[in-house]
């Protein structure tokens, strides 16, 4: 099977600091790939390079075999790569429906849309309701309520639903359970499963080893700006993974460079 998203030899330098050092990356269709790494290992730079928030100095990224070069997150989004940021990137005072369509609003057909630029509220609300329903989030009663009146888990749910609704090729989730309680984390993990079951591959960045080992199909371990190894959660223990990413242990068949 061909990977849906590949990166080869990515390099990104910030002054003297090399955040990405000849880094490779592969995402297979339909999988959940976790990306773990110590603080400063360069995993957020890697994710930003894929989601268009950072332009790599060197290297090549291919989506479905075609080389891509994103200059902005919007270009990545238009190509079908959606990112749920840790901050969620939602406007608290605006409604759920407004937030889901932020930056890609649907206008009414005919003269009201083309001349007066009127938004097609009913259409957007129906779509938002449908997407939240699909992911079993309809405990959220009112699609027009402000996002700030939602709990942390509900907000995360809306953000994931937004990404799943528009992310036709890849969904990137940055620390989706970091700010949540036990029950809410469980709900979000279920949501991630639901998205996967709909055939969309997911890149999951997380520091939470139990969550990673529970949900990921493969784990990309990032160390010192590059991919150290990719493991299957069934083959290794959590302490092995932590040992690999901190450099305490070296996986078989990998020569420690630094």
């Amino acid at each position: 099977m061909e990977p849906i998203l590949t990166a080869r030899g990515l390099v990104k330098r910030y002054g003297k600091v090399t955040a990405l050092d000849n880094c490779d990356f592969e995402l297979m269709p339909g999988e959940i790939l976790a990306v773990i790494g110590d603080n400063g290992a360069g995993k957020s730079t890697l994710i930003k390079a894929i989601s268009g928030a950072v332009i790599p100095d060197e290297g090549e990224i291919r989506l479905e075999g075609k080389p891509i070069q994103f200059r902005t997150p919007i270009e990545a989004r238009n190509a079908g790569i959606e990112t749920v940021y840790q901050t969620l990137a939602m406007s608290p005072a605006l409604s759920i429906a407004d937030n889901m369509f932020m930056g890609r609003e649907v206008r009414k057909p005919g003269i009201m849309g083309s001349v007066f630029r009127q938004l097609d509220r009913p259409k957007m609300q129906a779509f938002a309701r449908e997407k939240l329903n699909e992911l079993g989030l309809m405990t959220i009663q009112n699609i027009n309520q402000a996002v700030e009146t939602l709990s942390g888990g509900q907000r995360q749910g809306v953000a994931v639903a937004r990404a799943a609704a528009f992310g036709s090729k890849v969904v990137i989730l940055d620390e989706p359970t970091a700010a949540l309680g036990v029950k809410e984390s469980r709900r979000v993990l279920e949501l991630i499963r639901d998205v996967k079951n709909r055939g969309i591959p997911i890149i999951l960045i997380s520091h939470n080893m139990p969550h990673v080992f529970e949900i990921a199909d493969r784990i990309h371990i990032h160390r010192l700006g590059r991919r150290l190894c990719v493991i299957k959660p069934s083959d290794y223990s959590m302490s092995d993974a932590v040992a690999f990413m901190t450099g305490a242990k070296v996986p078989e068949g990998v020569a420690e460079v630094a």
Binding site: P73, I74, R77, Y85, T87, L88, A89, M90, S91, P92, A93, L94, D98, N99, M102, G103, R104, E105, R107, F116, R117, Q118, L119, R121, L137, T139, I140, Q141, Q145, A146, E148, T149, L150, S151, G153, Q154, G157, V182, K183, E184, R186, R187, L189, E190, R193, P210, E214, I215
Partner: protein, 359 residues
Amino acid sequence: MTQAQEFESATKDADQNVAQFEERRSPLARLQHLLHGNPALVPLIVLIGLIAFFGIFAGDRFFSAYTLTLVMQQVAVVGILAAAQTLVVLTAGIDLAIGVIMVFSFVIMGNLVLTDGSPGDFAMPAVLALLAGFVVAAFWGFVNGNLVARLKLPPFIVTLGTWNIIMAICLIYSENATMREADLTAQTQLLHVFGQNFRVGPAVVTYGVVAMIALYIALWFMLNHTAFGRHIYAVGDDPDAAELAGISTSKVLIGVYTLAGVIAGLAAWVSIGRNGSISPSTVVTDFNLQAITATVIGGISLFGGRGSILGVLFGTLIVGIMSMGLNMMNADPQWKVLLTGVLIIAAVAVDQWIRKVSA
């Protein structure tokens, strides 16, 4: 259900409703939610309360169509400026220059239709003079917008600077010479068109009032039913989130300040109709603060992203009604100033309370 981890089994006896809403709320919390959803409600209640109060205590003379339409005429210019201010405040900014932009704009409109008879100075057609006034107003808004969006300077500092700059340029350019109404109307009627009125029974409605109301309806539509309007709220609410969601925040900011300038141009035109003559010395009037006052009393949050433009129309009328009512009760005019101050602080306090709403 995904495979739960062992420690999570402890939660199985807990309430299973992850995303439920508390149905029982105290009346106060329900009021908080109601106001959160309808930010124009507070100024509307205050406005109705004031009209009732003066209707009872200032007598029938106050509670007449004539008086109430007179209030509308008096507030039209500040009301239009407050609409411009609202757009800027919604982006979490402030426009201290909005008043002087208006004055500079009407000085240009007046100056261009007149001629001092010297060679090289000719009277321009009124349409071109008006257009020039609008273009200059839009230009200054554009300058403010670029300084805020591109140089990332605080809006307060940017507009404090341009306020002084435009005021000085206005006085230098005009040599502080007042243009008389008779001289202006000898050239053209077009500049004073918003001063003309029509009667509906005892009510006197000027075209300036019609322009103000039409502007509020148009802006209400823009803010609530177009993508640009939603983006204004999003940028004011959380600029980083808006940027990540794919909105070009600098384009929105430049658009907002420029549009505020254009609206100040409309205020300039309406102002000529209201005042008749054009005097550059009005550049020292605190139009900017009056516009901010109406905006704040109208329930627009100074922290951006919250409030309804209709609230600002009510806020403008609150100031006008209070002024007229106290006047009719022969109160010292300073009472109006004092009460305005109280209303400003109360409005911001209410805003802070509404923002604390939670599910």
